[in-house]
Amino acid sequence: MEGLTKSISWIIGIALIAILFYILGDIILVSVKNFSLSFLLDSPFSGGRKGGIYPIIISTLLILAVSLLVVIPVGLTSALFLAEFAENNSKSIAIIRKSIEILSAVPSIVFGLFGNAIFSVYFGMGFSILSGGLTLAIMALPLFITTVEKGIRSVPNNYRFVAFSLGMSQFTMIKSIIIPYALPAIFVGIVLSVGRALAETAALIFTSGYVDRIPESLFDSGRTLSVHIYDLTMNVPGGDINAYKTSLVLIVLILATNTLINILLKSWYKKRIAL
């Protein structure tokens, strides 16, 4: 029994690491062999088989910007309400928490359907950066709220007591004590949302669409890196090499956000211990 458990653990542990290296190694090797800086600076042509991904990077950044512009204010105020204002066991808190739970469980393709129905069709935005960004914003919201709420709750109660005994208004307390203290958590929330948005494909195919030119306005369609990988793999015969290279770019971006989260979390903990 002991030997069996031990050997099976080792086999599975090593196999899982090997598969991870196989997936990442394959992408890195094939991409690096064919990589040049012009890939990041050129426009794609012949359906993406040739050329680079410059317009796609621009569209990705624009969609990210739109979704962050919505997620940050809405998420921050929601989190403040949950952590500072609502009575802890009230009905409204229960309803909101349930909603957040449901929202984080909804499959991304259903967000895509919803975004298509409400933003593209009902509000007439069509396939656009705006539709895609807003859809992603709603998707990223639950993660952002939960993270920021935890950060706000980690503000020691003494700070609040002191603020009130000094006669500060709630507004002043939030502005000059709560938010500065919870800032690392807010950053972690932002970076998490960016990671979630970068990885997303299904919600974007029919909200922000497929167009691979540089969008001229927020009402233009634009494809993200992940949609580009999907399109090259499934719809463009001979698009493999560029799909490999785009995957590398996407993975590097996501790993960068993950590393950033780890660094931020560490500084957050240090701060808490120091206080």
């Binding site: 458990t5 599975i12 909603s99 909804v106």
Partner: protein, 287 residues
Amino acid sequence: MFQLTRSRQDLYLNVFLKINGYFSFLAVFLIFLFIGKESIVALSGHSTAFIFDKSWFPSEGQFNTVPMIAGTLIVTFGSVILALPLGIISSLFANFYCPPRIKIFYRRAIELYTGIPSVVFGFWGLMKLVPIINEFQPPGQSLLAGILVLALMIFPIITLSLISSFEMASKNHFKVSESLGLKKSTYIWFVLLPSLKGQILGATILSTGRAIGETMAVLMVCGNIVKIPSSVFEPVRTLTANIALEMAYAMGTHRSALFLSGLILLIMIGFLLLLSDTLKKRFAWKD
């Protein structure tokens, strides 16, 4: 929290935050409203068509979603069955068998899995896994490919959740069991795992939800033929893949039938949430 002083500014702030606080509720409400509203066309007239139509032939107005529902259930079930032992054993490896110095790297590696986007998993599956399966049994794009890729995507949820709960639980009783002379494996199989039944169940339900909703990877490796597969080597189409494939050009009843697929997905997820709530009360696990 406290309401000692209240300026006019604070009152406005309160109202403003309260309105924003309900945004998530509004979002959920709108999702159900719009998905429901768009499904009505498919449901009205012949409301049982999505079960009793001959098959899924959008051009002929036939919208039987049963093969896709079956596809989703089979792929989900298969991948969870595979991911559960992978998740449990790899977290055992991390906590009890791998050298302590390596543990942190091992954990980072498992976290890396969760960082790989699903479209990249699908791409890898199509480039590497599908050709291998194709050599055994063509066409390669199959239920098996979907199950394997999906299992790799969801096992980290189980592993990461269990690594931390194993740590907590071991703090409580590992030393005691060692001093009683129990072997490590006896401790694992007869003390640790039974005491964490709830935790394992919770992680499993979470990963089931992820598997049901997964779109891109499944879409890219499963072959997407509308037919209930009779072996693991046959292609299969899930509800999610069906939406992603046809939404771009669907009109009228066809479009509505795709929204109905979305509604069915929502109902499945809702059922899972209910299940998780009931079981959570019974087994008391932490998220």
